[in-house]
């Protein structure tokens, strides 16, 4: 059980867990709808994943295997910190392998490897309200959702097209869930939007500071908003990962020097490592890289 006797299993007290659990069940029953919940202060700052942490703490049990990623990577400092938190307060097994995890908490990415039935993807969400930057007032946005009044969102996207010739929203790209609620997918790049559609995994979203929980059940329609003459499209990279040669994955740009030299590498570190373990090599993979240093 817990290694620090003064705190509870998974940190939260049972009353708080029940409150969050009730919210999660309602969120699942109303896909894409933001359920208000009495978010608690957590021992990490608001904006650093407190919503995701509360959701994970409410669902996690001793037999779970937890993976935590930030920007697709297991080894970014905030991911390390959250993983260590649960290893300590819930004494659960952790992993970096997407396939081995029962719960994956994420900030800003969906793993490249397709998720499986039985897995739960927990998103950390900073601003859960997709309409927030069009209408700052909660009282108004609530009404807009109730009346399914999403015209403003389409106008905004269309203004993009008029101004830039294309929809300039590249992340936190709004989706419609099961034909009803417009939902913020969290600041994942729109590259990841198609992965949400009909995913076999349960997707839970926690926004701690904004006190909202929402969900996309498995096998649920998630459609990115678009227009007939400007269909939704995802980012395409012109080159493969420099380390594992993967294509069709999301890449991070890494600056190599101050003369404009850069390379593109997998954002999903686990996927990249697995590919390299299978023998895939990019043009700057391990050996060449060491030689270059």
């Amino acid at each position: 059980m817990s290694l620090i006797p003064s705190y509870n299993f998974a940190y939260l007290d049972e009353q708080t867990k029940r409150m969050i659990r009730r919210s999660i069940l309602k969120a699942i029953a109303i896909p894409g709808y933001q359920v208000p919940f009495a978010s608690r202060e957590m021992p990490m700052p608001y904006g650093w994943g407190t919503g995701g942490v509360q959701v994970t703490a409410a669902i996690i049990g001793p037999s779970d295997v937890l993976k935590v990623i930030d920007q697709g990577a297991d080894d970014t400092t905030n991911a390390v910190s959250i993983r260590a938190f649960f290893a300590k307060v819930a004494n659960v097994a952790t992993t970096t392998h997407t396939a081995d995890a029962t719960i994956i908490q994420t900030r800003h990415r969906i793993p490249e490897r397709p998720l499986q039935a039985g897995q739960v993807l927990v998103y950390q969400v900073p601003i859960p309200e997709p309409l927030r930057f069009l209408e700052p007032r909660e009282t108004e946005t609530r009404k807009m959702h109730a009346l399914e009044e999403y015209g403003l969102m389409h106008v905004k996207l269309y203004e993009d097209i008029a101004k830039h010739g294309q929809i300039a929203t590249t992340y936190a790209y709004p989706v419609k869930v099961e034909g009803r609620y417009v939902m913020d997918p969290s600041p994942t790049p729109k590259f990841d939007n198609p992965k949400m559609h009909m995913s076999p995994a349960l997707q839970l979203f926690g926004a701690g500071r904004e006190m909202r929980i929402y969900a996309v059940p498995p096998f649920t329609e998630v459609v990115s908003l678009d227009f007939e003459d400007h269909p939704f499209e995802i980012q395409h990279f012109t080159q493969p990962c420099a380390l594992c040669a993967a294509t069709g994955v999301y890449l991070d740009e890494v600056i190599l020097d101050d003369h404009g030299g850069h390379m593109f590498v997998c954002s999903d570190t686990d996927n990249c490592e697995e590919r390299r373990a299978q023998g895939h090599r990019g043009h700057l993979s391990g050996e060449e890289l060491e030689a270059a240093e």
């Binding site: 509870n8 867990k17 109303i30 709808y33 109730a146």
Partner: protein, 199 residues
């Protein structure tokens, strides 16, 4: 107080509530699947162990619980007051949770459907059925179900499909239903579309 009356709760409240919750979460996320809910509870009759498991997992003094009149015996209300502490005298249309023992008389009408702005403020209806299989086949479709799935719980009222269609038509408002029996649970969130096998 009579200790016997208060026995029969969770032996390990933290871990068992977590297990119970995961069963309920999986049940509602995957409508039609049968999730194990055997948590070793021995509540006073006529409260069943499965009904008790749901209540002990989700309810406390922040949740109003409506009990079917036949279920609200002194032994049951005393036991629930001790184990969950929820207000048990709430009106049907105010209850966050409703508990029914007699599934044949199930009436979804009259529970809280939530509001257009807050559709989550609706009743979760927990119904003990005689068995989760052996009845007429029902075909489920909707979120959580890849194509379609069949269930055949016993003991649902003859007009259940009509009642459910009416509930479904209120979306996003509506009640969510948990059918329990045999140490297990089937979840029917308001999004699920249900039809008869031959329909």
């Amino acid at each position: 107080m009579d200790n016997l009356m208060l026995d029969g709760g969770f032996a390990d409240p933290v871990m068992q509530a977590q297990q119970g919750f995961r069963a309920l979460m999986d049940a509602l996320a995957n409508p039609g699947t049968i999730q194990q809910l055997a948590l070793g509870l021995t509540p006073p009759a006529p409260l069943t162990p499965e009904l008790a498991a749901v209540l002990l997992t989700l309810c406390d003094h922040d949740t109003g619980v409506w009990l079917e009149p036949d279920l609200a015996t002194e032994a049951v209300t005393g036991w629930l007051r001790f184990h969950i502490g929820s207000p048990l005298n709430v009106a049907r249309d105010q209850a966050q949770f409703a508990v029914l023992r007699d599934s044949n008389t199930l009436q979804l009408n009259g529970f809280s459907l939530g509001t257009d702005i807050y559709p989550d403020r609706s009743t979760t209806v927990i119904v003990a059925v005689p068995a989760l299989s052996g009845g007429d086949a029902l075909v489920l479709k909707g979120p959580g179900i890849e194509h379609s799935v069949e269930i055949s719980p016993l003991g649902l009222p003859g007009d259940f499909l009509e009642q459910w269609a009416e509930n479904r038509a209120q979306f996003p408002r509506g009640v969510d239903l948990l059918l329990v029996a045999d140490g297990a649970v089937i979840g029917l969130p308001r999004t699920t579309r249900i039809s008869g096998k031959d329909a």
